[in-house]
């Protein structure tokens, strides 16, 4: 009987289970209250804020691909039906514009977290300032991309504390630009001029100043732009120079070179099979995908422009060979004769050309492993600063010596003669605009330039053959649609006009 008593007792014991049986903590990762304690935490958090920029959805492939084809210089070619979905601009189906929206908002949220929590961490003050400066820069850079491509966006400057707080309303674009300028101005004061070798690639005061100059230019604030950019040229934020070899800017050997103010960092170690996304173990951080970039067709007017003016040695502008491949003697496309590869296209257009920048199919005998490159992608380089300065100076004060010196420095590297002195303001403007095409094509700048010059979308409408297939321009759609997922989940969002 005793043993049965034991059974009954054990039974009752089972009924009265202790409370903490149901408390399970997550053994896989940290919770926010375990974080934001140390300098190391602050450093991890700022790296986390950079992180979305280099994933496949952002500069790695997708958003770069779609912003590139918006301009008059680039069009998609080939019979790739999947592209219809990748580059489809319909809000409901669109994938690619959604990717940019998501990735830049991630940068903003993470920067906001840094700005919210890092000030309370006990750590070295100058390191703390640097990190806060990086967060301000990243937030400004992300907001610029969002406001430029989507126009009507919310303005969020502190992280949401609950699900309810994630539904923010759109604001006037000018308020976003005000915030960007404030952030960049503050960032300049907090950021170092240079970083140690171990930290190369983190943003500097020069990055922030260069971007601020660009923002002023976009807003037509020429005199402010000229002032800000002049400081960069004068070495206020450290030394920047043109790399003697133009093409080096687009090769791994030119990663974080002397010409670079800000670039997206890529390596070649991640496994794409483990996911092309971000924030998963071993995320691939490659630049591009050969199909999107080196198979991009470049409209022939770009080639015409390159061929218009020879170097002082009577050669073709060397920048042409780093920008495009066309039917020049001996031209190759990954080891195949260009004429063979593009026989059909050349039949329609003898000046058919495709992009070379970053991937160099005219130099490389084979497509790279996984069709990807480890080369960093330049966002602001000194040549751009010089050209922006020349432009801003001309607009503000006319073609001054400073303006001439700036543009000539860029031209001289390409062995192009100095501009003829004595140009009118209008003539000088045209020269700078022309130079920007020769120097910066395929660097994601053309559409931004056309927009600020008031030539977009007119130039696309006037030249329907500049865009093709699914990417035909629809009137009123200067900006991307707000991605449907945002419209659906955020009751405070109104869709952009035209969609």
């Amino acid at each position: 009987m005793k043993k049965y008593l034991t059974l009954v007792l054990s039974f009752l014991f089972l009924l009265g289970c202790e409370d903490d049986f149901l408390d399970e903590s997550n053994p896989n990762t940290m919770t926010p209250d375990q974080f934001w304690q140390s300098e190391a935490d602050a450093l991890s958090a700022i790296v986390g804020a950079y992180s979305p920029l280099s994933n496949i959805f952002c500069h790695g492939r997708i958003f770069t691909g779609i912003t590139q084809v918006l301009s008059d210089a680039v069009r998609q070619q080939g019979d790739f039906s999947y592209r219809a979905s990748i580059f489809n601009l319909q809000p409901a189906q669109g994938n690619s514009h959604r990717n940019g929206w998501e990735e830049y908002w991630k940068v903003i949220f993470r920067a906001n977290n840094v700005l919210e929590f890092v000030p309370n961490i006990e750590m070295d003050n100058s390191n703390k300032d640097n990190i806060l400066g990086e967060a301000l820069f990243l937030r400004g850079y992300a907001y610029f991309n969002l406001v430029h491509y989507f126009q009507n966006i919310p303005l969020v400057t502190s992280p949401a504390k609950s699900l309810e707080e994630t539904q923010q309303p759109q604001v006037e674009p000018s308020l976003v630009y005000d915030q960007i300028k404030a952030d960049l101005t503050s960032a300049i004061s907090k950021l170092p001029n240079t970083w140690s070798d171990d930290n190369k690639g983190r943003v500097t005061s020069g990055s922030a100043a260069g971007l601020l100059g660009k923002i002023h230019l976009v807003l037509g604030e020429y005199s402010n732009a000229a002032t800000e950019l002049k400081k960069v040229i004068d070495g206020t934020y450290g030394t920047y120079e043109l790399d003697p070899d133009y093409s080096n800017n687009f090769k791994e050997s030119g990663d974080n070179n002397i010409e670079s103010l800000f670039e997206i960092q890529f390596d070649n170690t991640g496994a794409w099979t483990a996911g092309w996304g971000a924030d998963v173990p071993s995320t691939a951080r490659y630049y591009s995908y050969v199909n999107d970039l080196s198979r991009t067709a470049v409209n022939s007017w770009v080639l015409d422009l390159f061929l218009e003016e020879a170097t002082i040695d009577g050669e073709i502008d060397p920048r042409a060979y780093s920008t495009i491949v066309w039917d020049y003697p001996g031209a190759k496309y990954y080891g195949v004769d260009f004429t063979e590869k593009y026989s059909n296209e050349l039949k329609d257009n003898a000046k058919h050309s495709v992009s070379a920048k970053y991937s160099f199919p005219n130099v490389n005998a084979k497509t790279p492993a996984m069709n990807t490159e480890a080369v960093n992608k330049k966002i602001i380089r000194y040549a751009d600063v010089l050209l922006m300065y020349a432009e801003a100076e001309n607009e503000a004060n006319g073609p001054t010596n400073g303006a001439y010196n700036a543009i000539n420095e860029v031209r001289n590297r390409a062995k192009m003669a100095d501009l003829t002195p004595g140009l009118t303001k209008d003539q000088f403007r045209e020269k700078v605009r022309r130079e920007r095409v020769l120097e910066l094509t395929l660097e994601d700048m053309r559409q931004i330039d056309l927009m600020r010059w008031g030539q977009y979308p007119k130039r696309i409408i006037d030249n329907p053959d500049f865009r093709n297939g699914e990417l035909f321009y629809v009137q009123g759609r200067e900006y991307f649609p707000i991605p449907q997922v945002e419209v659906d989940t955020n009751p405070n969002i109104v869709q952009n006009p035209g969609y």
């Binding site: 059974l7 926010p32 949220f109 969020v156 930290n199 497509t367 035909f472």
Partner: protein, 1029 residues
Amino acid sequence: MKNINLRRKIFFLSILLLINAESLFSNVNSDNDNYSNFIQQPIKGVVTDSEGLPLPGVSIVVKGTSNGVQTDFDGNFSIEAQSEDILVFSYIGMETLSVEVSDASDSINISMQESASELDEVVIIGYGSQKKSDLTGSISSLDGGDIAKFNVGNASQALMGKMAGVRIESNGGGPGASSNIVIRGVSTFTNTNPLFVIDGLFTDSMDFLNPADIESVQILKDASAAAIYGSRAANGVVIIKTKSGEGANGVFVDFESSVGTQSLIKKLDWTSGPEYAKFRNEIADLNGRDRLPGFNELYDGTTSTIVEDYAISDAPVYNSSFRVYGGSDKIRFNVSANLYDQEGIVKASEYKRKSIRANFTVENKKFKLSQNFAITNTFERPNTIWNLGNNILPTIPFYDSNNDGGYGAAALLIHGTDGVNHLGKSMLWDRHYERNNLFEGINMEYEITDNLVAKVNTGLTYTSAKNNTFIPTFFMSPNLDANLSKAEAREYTTEAYSLLAEATLDYSLQIDNHDLNALVGSTIQQNTTKVKGVIASGFPSNLINQISAAEQIQIGVGDKYVSSLESVFARLNYNYDGKYFLSGTIRRDGSSRFSSDNRYGVFPSAAFGWIISKEKFLENNKTISNLKLRVSYGELGSQEIVDYAYIPVLNLNSDGVFGSGQGRSPGISQTVFANPNLVWETTKTTNIGVDVGLFNNRLTLTADLYDKVSEDILVELNIPPSSGTNRPVAQNAASISNKGFELAANYRGEVKGLSFSIAPNINFLKNEVLGLGTNVSPITGGAFMGINATKTDIGTSVGSYYGYEVIGIYQNDQEIASDGAKADPNAQPGDFRYADTNRDGTLTADDQTNLGSYIPDMEYGITLNLEYKNFDANLFFNGVSGVEIFNFAKTKNLFGYGGNNIIKDALNYWRPDNTDTNIPRLSGGAGNNRASSFMVESGDYFRLRNIQVGYTLPKETIESIGLRNCRVYLSAQNLFTITDYSGYYPEIGRGQADEERVVDNNNTLFYAGTDQSTYPTPRQFLLGLQLGF
């Protein structure tokens, strides 16, 4: 700490088991059969019913022989039998009687009792059992015998169509294909599978069972039946009891073996090489392009590679099982082993299962202990990619010895595309899923008093699932998907173990006409899942494939998830006079998946039953032998959401590249929001049922009408990406309604020695999403080749297809012009004309509309059993109606030219000289290749799912060679299928075609019914032999 406590309890309970062990193992002996005298003698007698009236037509058989007679009109019979023979008296509606012939007597008078038949059957309900006549809930039962007649790789498939309201969708027809079991409609967005209770232990699946081990299956469908399982039961409960030695006195051996062959039911009409070349040249000519050399000057004009020919061949299936069972009054045992080996009709696919089961029960006076133990090993090679988007072009030889790996593919300069040979890839890749399942349950019962029984149930289930792939180096083309220069090994292991401990006290009391049963109990469960994965690349050769040999570990992951449940429950069953029944259940559940404020859910239910036929006015009715009304209402819970969803987390993998060496710097970020407000999902079901028995219960009918509403459905939903995160957040959001009507009937009869039963069932279901929550976008799914096939929105059923409605093809520019903005801006003659469904005069994305769904309006099954002398036959038909399939094959086979072969229909494309067609012009897809009604087809079918014809050898023939039983059978599956579906087979399941797919169907609900690369269901013929010793 808590883990230790749980472990301590289980250990403690195991010790208790041993206390009694020594007194249990005694008097185990088997009866010895002795065959004495073989003197035949005529036995005579009269058979009457309980009121003394003679029964004509009673069948009398000498057991184990074919020797049988029937009673005459006055109930008289005469049969040749010998002493110790057993005479079996059977008559529909009467309890079958076995009477041993004694030496002394040559006359036997028999009085047969009316069988309360099925109604007296005991049905297993949660934590107990009940007479079928006493049930107040809605429960469907299936006997192991029915399952045994159906040879399937996956036990769940044998349940398909057998029980009204239980939908079993097989995920295609691959070897060992898993099934989704949906009881009374999809009522949630994550895991739609019911709770499985196998010998008292909770599992997520029944895939590991050897179908032959199943003794009975009960499916608890309404809330009152399932309420005792509260938290887990919102999708219904499947209770499975495996075979024991119960009822067997002695030692018995059963052996069964079958071999069969499977073949493709339907071929598609692929274009031949020359046809395809001609087609491609036409495209080039039409577009003013040079013909591609691969279809013109470099094509030999004869090569004709049809993927189907290389992919599909007849394949064998083999099944063998062995069972030893028996016992005495104190100990019973059942030990079985099974080997199932099925090759797929598609190359590089197979399924093997090995299982061992050992069940023991020992009893000593008031104490009873049973233990159920099983180990199962399954090995599966699925081939989900053989028919994926890109494949070999018919003008290219399938094999190419110049390529590393040996498979041919298109080349850019010759064929216009860098091709992928997906079938070749599936043959090159060594990919397999291997699972080991360990199952151990221990039940103890002790009668404290005659009225009070205490039970303790503990158990452990352990699963390790390996998903391993080795991809050798290969080259087909420079396409990213078509070459690999460094071999890669991917190895993922998921280990899951679940510990259960529960105790119940069961009290019964009968006073006069009052019959009361009360149950209280508690249960705790802890589930631990550990996932590990490695991807490594670079191996010295393709023959060396283990991780240690790799140059580089590309990725290593490891995660662990623990969840706990703690519940108490009580049930009261009361009936008065066997006429009025009342049942009430309440259960309180706590789950670790919710924050401590929201942790507990209380789930009540009540039911009422009334056997009207026992009332005076029906008591002696000749026609109506049983009439019962059942009404129930109850609430059930669900906690099916990822673990830890309420706890905020950081992501440790947001690294960045920095420094002159461009190394990785660790980065941390917040990538998802937590939801501390998560609560239990609740399903409320009202059920009204009627059970009718007519003509002595020869015909029985069960009808149920139900209304089931799920609220606060747990689902991971998008939040605004402007939050800075784009990962969905677990929320209580949607609500779904399922309303249905179920009818099951059974008629048993006998005509001239042929006894038969026919059991049809039918159910009608309407599934509707009532709400999605606030600020929730409709859920899209079924993505494939750039098209989203499904959209779940308010007012649609879950996973409805969504797209444009095609109303014709534009024949000329005038038609397009007259449509104005209603035409697609890019439309040309030969393009689809889409309906402006919202009539706003413009064709926009808003014109996409509901195009149907994979949920059938009606589903039905008919089981027919026939027995004549030593022959028996079992036929099972099933069908669905009002179901649609989103046929992605059309995208691929009609528009996908360039990457793969096309079907002959594609050649009938629209052109000015061929306008009478429904295939649009050649446009590379574009505006025509959208989710549209063109892709949606009826998936209705009616088929003879299974037929088995058996012959049992006469006992006298086999006894001489020491056999107890010998039966041979021939069976065929899917002998015919009537369908209009244009794809391979209308059995799609939730097939998501993906190279990386792990066989896990919980996340593919919104892919259901989309035919991407579904494995065709084969036809199967089997020859089997059953032996009993």
